[in-house]
Each structure stands twice: as structure tokens, then as C-alpha cells.
């Protein structure tokens, strides 16, 4: 597995390097590249709990939002610098996941998906009525003025920050894929009862996975809050963010290292670039991509590659991509 793992890492790094070329680009493509990098992180966050552990969270945006709001509150209300607030927000998001995780992770499948969706909506409502978060009126991260503030670093700096975070996320998931912890998560996904019989403390392991995924999403949320300067409940807890995370990983390849990277590049580029041809039908693009992508690529593009990811050492090489594609579609068809 080390060998395949390294190959994946190299492939993914190359993909990111391609994205990194965006640094030389004018502002519109730079914006797209930045958004791609944000979604690499968010997709990997979802991949940990939804891909490796097989718990399809539909509330992942809650951790993004909690991280973002934590950063905003710490900078605006407590007087932290943004760079001090960043790790604190990541930790807070992970702690939040560790608290809401145990009851949610008792559920499985559809019930888990919908309960997490409810958790995210509930969190948004809570943020919208609390005083410290500024409620529905939003909260401003101080970027200038006489009081404590952190100067706004500009678009290119955010591009680099998201790039660094994406690289960290990729490294975390690459490590996970080869580690004991990752193996335990895949065992849980395959058969939770059998995993428990193999000595895996399933509840603890699942909560740890959720917290790790929240750590990544929370960090991304904090960066996003700073990038936006003003945060609102509706912008930080947007259901579309969760949807994109899920779809990117599904279409890229659940439980693989490179799949979510490829998915994020393809999906975010498609979505943002197609939006340029703005029309009344604009909002239909994303849902149409979701439906078509999921039906045609149920196992994701990563499975079209010659060596199936996650097959471990000694995995048998697969047939031609087209055969694999049809194979996946055939396997799930009624």
C-alpha cells in the first residue's frame, strides 16, 4: 500500500501544482482556483467521515460555520488577532464535533444523513439568535481601525493560504489511508459489528473521525470568514456548501486520496466557469451536475484509474476504464 499511496500522493500533488499555476492568473481565474482549493479541503473533510468511515454526513457545513463564527467572534468580540484565532477556531470546531458526534453517530445511513442535516440547520438557527454572533445582522472581522485588528492580506494571500490548507488536508488523508486508524474506519464502513468484534472501539473511532473532519472544515471556515470579512448565518451555514462537499467526493471517489482533489477541480471549475454564462437557467447547473454525476459515476472517477484505490497491496489491476465505468453502473442498477 505504501507504493500505491505514494503514487496517489504524487498524482494529487501534480493536480494541485496545476491549480497552483493560478497564481500567475488574473483575478477571475484566481478566484476560481482559490475556490477549488477551498473545496479540496472541504471535500477531504467530508471524505474522512463520509468516504472512509461510511457515515454520509449532510451537516458538514456546521463545522465550517462554527469554525468561521468562532474566528469572527474571537477577533471581533474578544480582540484576538486572526492568526491566533485560526487554531483556536479549528480546535473549537473539532470539540463541537466531539460533543454532537456521539448521539448522531448512533444512527446509520439515511437517518444519519438527515439528522446531521438537522444538526446543521439547528446550529445555524442558534447562531442567528445568539447575541455574541451578531444574530442575523452578521458580524464583521476587524481588518482596520484603531482597535485590535488584522490587516486584510488580499486575494493572492488567500490563494496561498487555501493552497497550504489543501496540501495539509491531502497529507492528512494520505496518512489516514495508510494508517491503522484509516483501516479501522474502513472496517467500520464495511461491517460495524464485525469491526467491534475485531477489537475496534467503534464509537470512539467514529467520533475521532468526525472531529478530525471538523478540524479541517473548521480551519477552512475560519479562513473563509476572514476572506469574506462580514459573516452571516446564511453564508457560513449554506446547505449548498455541504452538497458540494458530498458531490465532489462521490463523483471523485469515496474513500480515496486523490478522488476528492480531482472532483473539486472538475466540479468547482465547471460550476464557477459555467456561471459566467449567466442566464435565468444558471441555478439549474449545479443540480443537473449532481444528478448526472452521481448516476454516471457512482464510484467516482478514481475508480476508473488502472489500479483501484484502497485495494491495498497485491490488489489485482483492473480492466479498461470504460469497462470499469459500465461495471460500476451495472453493479448498482436495479
Amino acid at each position: 500500500m505504501e507504493k500505491t499511496g505514494r503514487r496517489w500522493l504524487a498524482g494529487s500533488a501534480a493536480t494541485i501544482a496545476l491549480a497552483a499555476g493560478g497564481a500567475a492568473l488574473p483575478s477571475q481565474p484566481l478566484g476560481t482556483a482559490t475556490s477549488v482549493l477551498l473545496f479540496v479541503t472541504l471535500a477531504q473533510s467530508w471524505n474522512i467521515i463520509g468516504g472512509f468511515a461510511g457515515y454520509p454526513s449532510f451537516g458538514q457545513v456546521a463545522f465550517f460555520g462554527v469554525g468561521g463564527y468562532c474566528a469572527a467572534v474571537l477577533t471581533a468580540q474578544v480582540g484576538f488577532s486572526f492568526w491566533a484565532a485560526l487554531p483556536a477556531s479549528a480546535a473549537f470546531a473539532a470539540a463541537f464535533a466531539a460533543v454532537v458526534g456521539p448521539p448522531l453517530l448512533r444512527l446509520r445511513g439515511n437517518a444519519f444523513s438527515i439528522a446531521t442535516l438537522g444538526m446543521a440547520a439547528g446550529t445555524r438557527e442558534l447562531v442567528a439568535i445568539l447575541g455574541v454572533t451578531g444574530g442575523g445582522a452578521g458580524l464583521t472581522v476587524p481588518t482596520f481601525g484603531p482597535g485590535p485588528h488584522t490587516a486584510y492580506p488580499g486575494a493572492l494571500a488567500f490563494y496561498w493560504a487555501y493552497l497550504a490548507l489543501a496540501a495539509v488536508s491531502l497529507a492528512v488523508v494520505a496518512w489516514l489511508s495508510a494508517s491503522r486508524f484509516g483501516l479501522a474506519l474502513r472496517a467500520i464502513r464495511a461491517d460495524e459489528t464485525a469491526a467491534e468484534s475485531a477489537g475496534v472501539a467503534t464509537t470512539r473511532t467514529k467520533v475521532a473521525a468526525l472531529a478530525l473532519s471538523a478540524l479541517l472544515a473548521g480551519t477552512a471556515g475560519a479562513l473563509f470568514a476572514f476572506q469574506q470579512v462580514v459573516v452571516f448565518p446564511d453564508s457560513m451555514f449554506d446547505i449548498t456548501t455541504t452538497t458540494l462537499m458530498v458531490v465532489i467526493v462521490v463523483v471523485g471517489g469515496r474513500g480515496t486520496v486523490a478522488g476528492p482533489v480531482v472532483g473539486a477541480v472538475v466540479f468547482e471549475t465547471l460550476v464557477t466557469e459555467l456561471h459566467l454564462f449567466a442566464s435565468r437557467l444558471d441555478p439549474l447547473i449545479l443540480p443537473a451536475l449532481i444528478v448526472v454525476g452521481v448516476v454516471l459515476l457512482p464510484d467516482g472517477v478514481a475508480h476508473l484509474l488502472p489500479v483501484p484505490p484502497g485495494a491495498g497491496r497485491g490488489g489485482t489491476p483492473r480492466a479498461r476504464p470504460r469497462a470499469v465505468l459500465l461495471d460500476a453502473v451495472r453493479r448498482y442498477r436495479l
Binding site: R180, A184, D191, S197, A198, G199, V200, A201, G314, G315
Partner: protein, 245 residues
């Protein structure tokens, strides 16, 4: 010599139904206890109670003298009680090797590399070495049972609880299975053998408990229990008196 597994007045109700009623036994190192009885007698419930998959309504379970009643499966397996499943439950998309390695890592506490080495050795022992790299979902019935056993052995068990591990196997495979289990007994592992195959029970068990409707009907050495008229009747029904198994 003290018992590695002691079960005392084990009782479990499902609603109004008493699935297991006052079952008591103890199991020593290197011995095999057979648990037999017709379908629905409560054998699998006993397995689930002893391995932590169900909590008993009443009664105690002790492993090596330590009370583990109501502990979750992962704690029990770490304490030395491993099981196989009657309906096999492989981690289908993991390789055969990794299926076994999970147990070696989490139940026996080996680091990743040592766990894979152990897993390889166990696959050799159960005769699955050539399939190590295949996804476990591709194994047939007999190989899936071997995998179940290898996975249980990788936990480094003191007690093996085998739920119809020989079920659905051909005669030749059963003979191989019996030899394998006899070798494990020689290594000092205690075995709770839930089995329908009476030849295997006779060959392996030191003692046998016969369950009927959750209660121990009779117990003793296999030769004695298997020729008990009540046992014969319970298995074959009252209309076939005197037909020995």
C-alpha cells in the same frame, strides 16, 4: 487450574420470550465445550451474550476471573474472547490480509507492520495465504469461514467462540476444520463450539451442553449426551424414537 471463561446463571429475555434461561458453565484452557440444540434453542443468543453483542438480563460473565458482564464486544475481545459469525461478515472491500490485520492491530495491539506479519502467518495456518491480496468479498463459503477463523485468531484469544464455523461445508472441508481446531486446542486455547455437525462435536469436545428452549437440558461427555434419549428426541422429534444420530 482456574477457568478462563465462567458463565453463571446467564439469562436473557426478548420481550416476553426467555431466549436463554439460567445457563451456567465454565471453560478451562485447552478444552472444548460443545453447545448443541435444535434451531431456536438459544445457542446464538448465548454466543452474543458471552461476546458482548447482547447484554444479559441476569447473570454474570467472567474472563480470567474478571467480571466483564455487559462490556461491549471490543472490550471483551481485548480481554481475550474472540468469536466467529454464523453468517460470515467479512470486510468485503478490504483485502483478505487487511481483514485479519485489523484484528491483530486493534484486539491484539500489534503495530501495523507486525500486525500484517501476524496476519500472513495466520492466513498460512488456515490455508488462505494465496488469497491474501484479494478483496474479501470475493471469497467462497469455505474460504470465508477460514477468514472468520483467522480473524478471530488474530485477536490473540484465550477463548474462541465458534458459531457454526463448519456449517455448510463439504465433508472433506469439515475434516480439515476439525484438525485445525484440534491443533488450536493443543495450543491451549479454550473453545466454545456451537455446532450442528455431531461428528465434529464428538471428535473435539470434552464436554457438551444441550440447550432446549433456552435451558440446559443435559450436559456431560459427548458420548453420553449424544446418546441421551431426550437429546435424540429434541433433534428428531418424538416420532422417531431410538434413531441415534
Amino acid at each position: 487450574m482456574t477457568a478462563v471463561l465462567e458463565v453463571e446463571s446467564l439469562t436473557r429475555n426478548f420481550g416476553g420470550l426467555r431466549a436463554v434461561d439460567e445457563v451456567t458453565f465454565s471453560l478451562r484452557r485447552g478444552t472444548v465445550l460443545g453447545l448443541i440444540g435444535p434451531n431456536g434453542a438459544g445457542k446464538s443468543t448465548v454466543v452474543n451474550l458471552v461476546t458482548g453483542h447482547l447484554a444479559p438480563t441476569r447473570g454474570r460473565v467472567r474472563v480470567g476471573g474478571r467480571d466483564v458482564t455487559g462490556a461491549p464486544p471490543w472490550k471483551l475481545v481485548r480481554a481475550g474472547v474472540a468469536r466467529t459469525f454464523q453468517v460470515v461478515r467479512p470486510f468485503e472491500d478490504l483485502t483478505v490480509l487487511d481483514n485479519v490485520a485489523v484484528s491483530a492491530m486493534y484486539a491484539a495491539g500489534f503495530p501495523a507492520r507486525a500486525a500484517r506479519t501476524t496476519a500472513r502467518r495466520l492466513l498460512e495456518q488456515v490455508g488462505l495465504a494465496t488469497r491474501a491480496g484479494d478483496p474479501a468479498g470475493q471469497l467462497g463459503v469455505a474460504d470465508s469461514r477460514r477468514l472468520e477463523l483467522a480473524r478471530a485468531l488474530a485477536t490473540h484469544p484465550r477463548v474462541l467462540v465458534l458459531d457454526e464455523i463448519l456449517g455448510g461445508l463439504a465433508q472433506r472441508e469439515i475434516a480439515a476444520g476439525v484438525d485445525l481446531l484440534a491443533a488450536l486446542r493443543e495450543q491451549g486455547i479454550a473453545i466454545l463450539l456451537v455446532e450442528h455437525h455431531m461428528g465434529a462435536v464428538r471428535a473435539l469436545c470434552d464436554r457438551v451442553i444441550m440447550l432446549e428452549r433456552g435451558r440446559p437440558l443435559t450436559s456431560g461427555p459427548p458420548a453420553e449426551v449424544l446418546s441421551d434419549r431426550r437429546v435424540v428426541r429434541a433433534y428428531l422429534g418424538a416420532r422417531h424414537p431410538g434413531t441415534a444420530p
